[in-house]
């Protein structure tokens, strides 16, 4: 078997409408299956929409935010969501909602809003960085 490597994955695509986020998810599954580690997945640009708890596809379709959440919990890696990219796209956690005087929020656990510094940290930790558009 090859050397165990640490992967960081950047997701730039929405969970629905384009395939990139699904490809990223399948790539993460394969990475773990191959015995490598995932140090974290960073969601940026349209990718932040993966963190919505309101995504509700029909029953014959996959719910990608659910899939991400389960995989991250099972393998204990963080799902970091860029806060500034999120706010302008309508992804808000409970705390931000309060500060912005919004009556609702939609960030799904265990996704967390974080700054681009977190991406820098993942990048520093990782042996390989992979991006999905």
């Amino acid at each position: 078997m090859n050397k165990r490597l640490k992967f960081a994955v950047v997701v730039s695509g929405a969970p629905y409408g384009a395939q990139g986020a699904s490809s990223a998810y399948q790539f993460c599954c394969a990475t773990l299956q191959a015995g490598h580690n995932i140090v974290g997945v960073f969601f940026y640009q349209e990718g932040v929409l993966n963190a919505s708890q309101l995504v509700s596809p029909a029953s014959d379709e996959i719910n990608l935010p659910d899939f991400w959440a389960k995989l991250a919990l099972q393998y204990q890696f963080p799902l970091e969501v860029c806060v500034s990219a999120s706010l302008r796209r309508g992804i808000v956690n409970e705390l931000e909602a309060k500060q912005l005087a919004l009556s609702q929020f939609n960030l799904k656990a265990p996704f967390v809003l974080s700054g681009l510094g977190q991406l820098a940290e993942l990048s520093a930790k990782a042996d390989r960085l992979v991006q999905f558009l």
């Binding site: 090859n2 730039s12 395939q19 599954c29 394969a30 992979v130 991006q131 558009l133």
Partner: protein, 97 residues
């Protein structure tokens, strides 16, 4: 150690493949994913250049994406998600197009 380029769009829709081929280094590899996989089935402007790359063993195609679209590759090595992971592991960096 070199770059693994991934192209996810069709050569009939975007110029990503063409621009990728223009700066692809001698040691680099190219993996076609998502809509990008049609580049190894249909005759487009850069099919010849792509065939050359395939002859050098530097062209891969994600099998799951070929299957999704009901097409088969005429050039390039077919590859699973697991092999995709090992391609990333075997290159220094990845560049998404």
């Amino acid at each position: 150690m070199s770059i693994l380029h991934t192209v996810n769009s069709s050569p009939f829709q975007t110029l990503a493949l063409q621009q990728c081929l223009a700066i692809l280094g001698e040691q680099d590899s190219l993996l076609l994913i998502e809509d990008g996989v049609v580049a190894c089935q249909a005759k487009h402007a850069d099919f010849l250049a792509l065939s050359e790359l395939a002859k050098q063993g530097q062209l891969m195609v994600l099998e799951a994406d070929l299957q999704a679209r009901g097409i088969s590759a005429r050039i390039g090595k077919s590859c699973s998600y697991l092999q995709f992971v090992e391609l990333v592991a075997g290159h220094k960096s990845q560049m998404a197009w």
